[in-house]
Symmetry: D2
Subunit: 308 residues, 4 copies
Amino acid sequence: MPNLDLVVNEIADEMRQRPDRGEVATYIPELARVDANAFGIAVIDADGNVAAAGDSDTSFSIQSISKVFTLTLALGKVGDRLWSRVGREPSGSPFNSIVQLEREQGIPRNPFINAGAIAVTDVILSGHQPREALGEILRFMRFLADDPAITIDKAVAASEQRTGFRNIALANYMKSFGVIENPVDFTLGVYFHHCAIAMSCKQLAMAGRFLAHEGRNPSTGLSVVHRERARRINAIMLTCGHYDGSGEFAYRVGLPGKSGVGGGILAIAPGKASIAVWAPGLDNAGNSHLGRIALETLAKRMGWSIFG
Amino acid sequence: MPNLDLVVNEIADEMRQRPDRGEVATYIPELARVDANAFGIAVIDADGNVAAAGDSDTSFSIQSISKVFTLTLALGKVGDRLWSRVGREPSGSPFNSIVQLEREQGIPRNPFINAGAIAVTDVILSGHQPREALGEILRFMRFLADDPAITIDKAVAASEQRTGFRNIALANYMKSFGVIENPVDFTLGVYFHHCAIAMSCKQLAMAGRFLAHEGRNPSTGLSVVHRERARRINAIMLTCGHYDGSGEFAYRVGLPGKSGVGGGILAIAPGKASIAVWAPGLDNAGNSHLGRIALETLAKRMGWSIFG
Amino acid sequence: MPNLDLVVNEIADEMRQRPDRGEVATYIPELARVDANAFGIAVIDADGNVAAAGDSDTSFSIQSISKVFTLTLALGKVGDRLWSRVGREPSGSPFNSIVQLEREQGIPRNPFINAGAIAVTDVILSGHQPREALGEILRFMRFLADDPAITIDKAVAASEQRTGFRNIALANYMKSFGVIENPVDFTLGVYFHHCAIAMSCKQLAMAGRFLAHEGRNPSTGLSVVHRERARRINAIMLTCGHYDGSGEFAYRVGLPGKSGVGGGILAIAPGKASIAVWAPGLDNAGNSHLGRIALETLAKRMGWSIFG
Amino acid sequence: MPNLDLVVNEIADEMRQRPDRGEVATYIPELARVDANAFGIAVIDADGNVAAAGDSDTSFSIQSISKVFTLTLALGKVGDRLWSRVGREPSGSPFNSIVQLEREQGIPRNPFINAGAIAVTDVILSGHQPREALGEILRFMRFLADDPAITIDKAVAASEQRTGFRNIALANYMKSFGVIENPVDFTLGVYFHHCAIAMSCKQLAMAGRFLAHEGRNPSTGLSVVHRERARRINAIMLTCGHYDGSGEFAYRVGLPGKSGVGGGILAIAPGKASIAVWAPGLDNAGNSHLGRIALETLAKRMGWSIFG
């Protein structure tokens, strides 16, 4: 078994030197001004050992990675009834496609494309005030990461809200089919804010531990979800976690993972480790370019692929 | 660790008694007349122990399961150059959709939808006579299953060839984009015949062993493919192996698998076992209804899900 | 030449007796409560003679028929530059489809599908206050119909605004591509209100006269648009005026026409007459069922088809 | 009324001098080697006067223009029952799109896209030998053009047959839905051959006369179809005759017309004239570039637009 600390540091070194860094998202100024050379990685194994390197303490906008946690919360609230509002098949489309919604009567294909995540947020909101729902999500993140300092980047949320016309379109489109139950503004308000949660690699890897260990935090022994639910969330991460690059990620990395447009990826090595990487440059499918390569390298050197 | 023999026999009993059996494929008479009550299962573990129950020695038409093996052969021939002719993303469409091809210039999304498998067959054919290519595929199946008695059901192949207008359309459509290089009739001839290979669950589970054990047959020690290639084929099986029901299969079963319209499924528990089930009734997505349930039960009872 | 008055009265009688009346739109209560048995027709010939029958003086919600007049206004404002914001090809899709927008970068196919009409409204608005733009549209309708009593049904506009999620989606979607320049709420406010203009068949036939007579009102001699522009607006009405039933309307009626979900249709017999019919029940494509049949009968009896 | 002869000669002069000539089709060598500078025009008025200029006696491959005549024949055979096999709505797609077929269960949108024309050919074939069906089509063309010298360019037909993979795909796809009843090879054989009919502008304008004159040849008085059918064929030509450029043609030219990839266009001025133009260079939508401009000029100078 290779030494995890060594491997993690090697990877950070290798990534720092690569000239190919992808393209930083520019659709809002708050993301555009992030340092394209940043790179962070944090791995927490079953015993709670943390191997980290690079900018692993720097907060970044977790964006769509938050969808893993809102999915977990929504399943906790309504259980399998969630699946009448959102599917769980890969989409074969970009993250913000509206075409699929028209073909399938407003039901998003899975909870990780934007439309699906908005529908999941609507389930969490269900009748509460946006402020309350957002508070619940934030408390859940702080609990999972065991860190009360986690906050929302209000400037990011405000920018998203001001320019997120395509998400507004998706939400209204679903509303026209009755898939969104709350006022669209409320649901989107919560959605834009939970995507704007800022976390470091270390915090994120900590928050993902329950997915690597049968639904429990192996250090505290606290159960977050049943084993089967953790397993199923991992399955959805594998098939749908990287939009139209999910097949590629499974093929190359071989771990369940969820990416965000801020350049972060949360990956799970079941039974072994929770992993977070961050590199702001994105590939064509909108996933962190170096983040994916770092995870591919890590999975290969540690022998962690779930595919043998 | 539960007793595998016991679990396999329990599952066969439970499946035999279920009233919900799905719908047997009727598009050709040879498939339509298969006994809807048939059920077979065979599991071969790392030590070569075979646990089998039900109709595990009865031959059935493996149909699309053959695509796992033609993919393996084609990768052996041309390596990663294969990926210029076919993608590896889930399709978000039924198995025989032609829409995606128009959007993506004739390049099929993955090697397991019909169009992709036809393109893979075209790579294996590449300049040879159909008879030679077919011989190569058949020899490969016999080698993997260690059984020279495996044959092609000529009546099935002839029926497919006579009525397979949609596959003829797919092949000609790809030909119009230059994705098919051989005469369409040649490529389709080989395709229809390798889909008509008849095997039992025991033979099929034997043939799949290299995918469960890092590319090697653990009994003979013979290597079929490199470890990384076996892993990657498993990844494609997981994300694309059940057409537009792939997300569902990953979510419920949690194992790489490939289904066929004859009612068979080959599933891989990496490091643990190669599994074949057969139940002719299909669900809405065209995958074996009881086959999927049997695998879900097996994975749960044995703790074999790759997702933790 | 048959007697126009006689023909118009015969048609009104025949329509009154037909049992097949289509389905009245029910998506807002104001439309749902309209009398399904209502039928009106008004035809104004080149000499200004008015032949009318049935409920030809009853006001109804002109809805999408207003798009003919906003198109005329927008062309008056920006001329052919309009065509960088909207196409002029039939859509091959329902009136409110969003799929086409994704495929064509947010540019609506033509000015008569909802997305296209919203883009046209945005051009009219361009920097003004919604109230001013709406005033301009209303003044134009009153001028054309020579009737200062024409007004907007505020209850209809308010209902549309409260429930028009799909139109909100379309507008935001175009905004995300930069096709909408004003605040979405402003543009949609004007759009919902001009669709809520209430007119009778007589008023509507009067307003359409310039399209039948080379751009001029033949009674007053006043020019509204150049001859070529009138001709071109007629062409767009023929190819796109009935959404995905435009081919059917051209095939059966053979006149340029524009329908509205309130059950009205404005049709133009170039050189001969301006025609308005109203029958609230709709066919599957969302066009007035009896309105189309009445126009088909009128065109046949009068020999007015433009196709010979 | 301007002098037709003069106008026709002016147009030929103007077209000869234009530098923008579009792109000659190159998908088969027989079309690729046609002179890009060729231009022909022939107009036959109600009295049988022929105004012609340029290469109006040169034969060219009429290609899709033949679809107007096969539609006429098929309607003669089965009447309105034809419309259960093919629609009559504009497609909103390129001429050879297969996407629409999947969405609408194998029923082509209209008889002028390739799929629709193949379905129409299948109706004409219905149980006969290809040779007989082809003979019938050819005899019909010779009768209409009053010229027994019209023939099929066998080299063109052979080239199409050898390389027409997309049409083979379309036909097999429809066959999979049961929309094609004859063996696909038979139907396509007839289709490729009738598209390869070679005619001059003069012959083509002669053949189209019945559409301009209520279904009859005004010189001989012979009736080809009922008045209503002629009118309806004109309507389909207007809404669907130029593929995804049909709206543009209606907008600019204002006459029913049908284009062919060989560079020809047949246009009808109802009650006034039958018109054929030929200029081999095509625009982006696959229609004759100068042909359309010539017709736009002709319609404007003669005041023949059907839109007023």
